[in-house]
Symmetry: C2
Subunit: 238 residues, 2 copies
Amino acid sequence: MSGARHEPDTFGVTADTVLLTIRNGRLSVLLIERRYEPHRGSWALPGGFIERDEDLDAGARRELAEETGIDVEPNHLEQLRSYGAPGRDPRRRTVTIAYVAFVARTPDPTAGDDARAARFFAVDDLAIDDLGQSEGTPLAFDHARIIADGVERARAKLEYTTLATAFVEDQFTIGELRRVYEAVWGMPLHEANFRRKVLGTPGFVEPTGETAPTDGRPAQLYRKGEATSLHPPILRPT
Amino acid sequence: MSGARHEPDTFGVTADTVLLTIRNGRLSVLLIERRYEPHRGSWALPGGFIERDEDLDAGARRELAEETGIDVEPNHLEQLRSYGAPGRDPRRRTVTIAYVAFVARTPDPTAGDDARAARFFAVDDLAIDDLGQSEGTPLAFDHARIIADGVERARAKLEYTTLATAFVEDQFTIGELRRVYEAVWGMPLHEANFRRKVLGTPGFVEPTGETAPTDGRPAQLYRKGEATSLHPPILRPT
DNA sequence: ATAATAGTGTCTCTCAGACAGTATGTG
DNA sequence: CACATACTGTCTGAGAGACACTATTAT
């Protein structure tokens, strides 16, 4: 960090959150429709300016709750990365600290003051290309790029952590867990091998002894185990 | 991001870089001794305030060069994460965007204006504990934690990317590459299996046809291949 | 009965780890 | 020669992918 020779330039600092969940079997992200300029009427990530004495994580959580009514546990929120290109916000120089959150089913979002609407979009429908541009719904700022980076974080973390359990209810079946992987990775998985890998990874899941009805044979219910990282990892098929 | 209802608080934004290299077979980080308050006389990461119309990456690179005389290629610099706890800088509210850089041998650093000295420290000698506190050299701000996070990034990236080639010269032997892994991971690797894995990963390295003398039989020289990610990964032994 | 999903058993191929042995330089 | 490092060959065990088969529900 620099010495005190000249007064440093000032920035606005925002926190924007990529909240991901599975809706109707599809990986989905929570967006708001902006009520104010800039990008009024565009869809954007929920977020806003960090306050003077507020921790970054707390600010992300507060803004998410204010704009969408959804409150996430602090440990379900993790920093993604920061975006601060000059000109990314036409008002003034800003840096945004992007967060990702992974949740199971939530209550329907309710639009807060700064938002005209708040709802989930299936990530596929946004059709974000390699350059971080959405070919579907136009997104505010550089939020298409941020969403793409957040989705890639989720895809990578499924491989070597127990993140998938964040997307399902407290009790869940192996089939439900598999459908999380399939939704996030966007590909079908081999059912029998998936089961063998999950049950063969100590601490990933624990049986509860209960069963749940399905469209076929009822399934054993499990809950999240103590492990947080997977050894060995469950790798994406090539 | 919030609407325009109230004027947002302002932050100073800095970029600090964890520049890692291998010196004397040990993973080492470049630090400067601070000339000015706060933390005058403490060792710190090179970095400083981002300027008004400057991209974050460019600011990190500029500050690194100003304070240490070391200029890194932009593609050898990647964002680590941001740190912005209230009170982390006693002067004013700041957020720092931390970067990591991975380089082969560099010219010796030369202390710039804000630094009384600049030199490399073996990461082990800093003895950073799980809480991100250095038990050896006292470090300014939250830089011990940032260094620990940067080192963990390097350790993780060796597994699934060709990052190791950034730590060696343009031409290198398999033994040199193995010693990079050993220095970063802090453990000896099985020589024959390491060779088999590296040569069996398409695009990791390409033979040059030349040889280099060693303390034993001369070794084939290789250069970096086209691959950037490793399939399959080279996993850390348990 | 069929359809649908849960769950088991097993074969094969790849690959990591381990180890033995050979090759080629220096002192 | 001994010594050091580079390099090769091969065995074994773990695990991924593929497939066949059985189990248990609803309709």
